[in-house]
Symmetry: C2
Subunit: 120 residues, 2 copies
DNA sequence: TTGACATATTCCGTAATAGGAATATGATTT
DNA sequence: AAATCATATTCCTATTACGGAATATGTCAA
């Protein structure tokens, strides 16, 4: 059956690194396509195609202004991904805690490699 | 060049919904392959293949115990994805704020389409 | 209308997927 | 050693993605 379409959901859409770059670039404010092209040094057709994917999964919105087409992120669509990863937050937190505890035990018998040092 | 390999990073690996299901199942504690098979009702070879992908990107770890092979999540690897989406948190927060403000203005001049209604 | 600018679409080739079925490998028990 | 249990690998196929190049579409200006 092959891999799921990139347009099937946000998870598939953001698997492509360039699309993540585009989203980051659009985050602060809406931008015309050519700004993306210039900023990321990608061929214009490539950017248009990536934007289309992002649009189809609702990660960006568009509006036209004269001959410019302005894209902006729809951050709401990223919440699903954020929410999913958040389910694992407690696990990496407890993992960090274990690391921290180990470090504190170490502190009783200090490790020369870990002690403070100034740049010589 | 075709799509990036599913094994190239966590983003690509979790694009596959079954792999996300597997990670959720493994989250509480390590499990043998057959538990995953039984729990998710997937063919065993399919599970083994998915686990291999997850292993290659570091999303899970393994250890052998007799004839069982126990997989466990490595939540640390999901932090990168969480961290990336977090960069957009402030944007959806302000988006929510705008929605909330609109709602409060609406409250002053109630919209009949929005007012409460009981099923007739 | 013609031209210039901005963006989108199409066509092509290559590469890589996930699923299914069959089979191989590894470990344990009898 | 043979049978059994647990897991991994291989082979096959249909589908799809991405990049590049060329071209189409759309909008404004002169």
């Amino acid at each position: 059956m092959a891999r799921a379409a990139t347009t099937s959901d946000a998870f598939n859409a953001i698997a492509e690194p360039r699309r993540r770059d585009i989203l980051e670039f659009l985050a602060p404010r809406e931008r015309p396509v050519n700004d993306v092209v210039a900023s990321l040094s990608l061929p214009q057709p490539s950017v248009s195609k990536h934007l289309r994917v992002l649009l189809q999964v609702g990660l960006v919105d568009v509006r036209r202004d004269g001959r410019h087409v302005l894209y902006r992120i729809n951050p709401e669509s990223l919440r699903s991904v954020h929410a999913w990863t958040s389910r694992f937050e407690r696990y990496w937190r407890s993992q960090l805690l274990r690391v921290k505890e180990r470090a504190e035990h170490q502190a009783k018998r200090p490790d020369p490699n870990t002690t403070k040092r100034r740049p010589s």
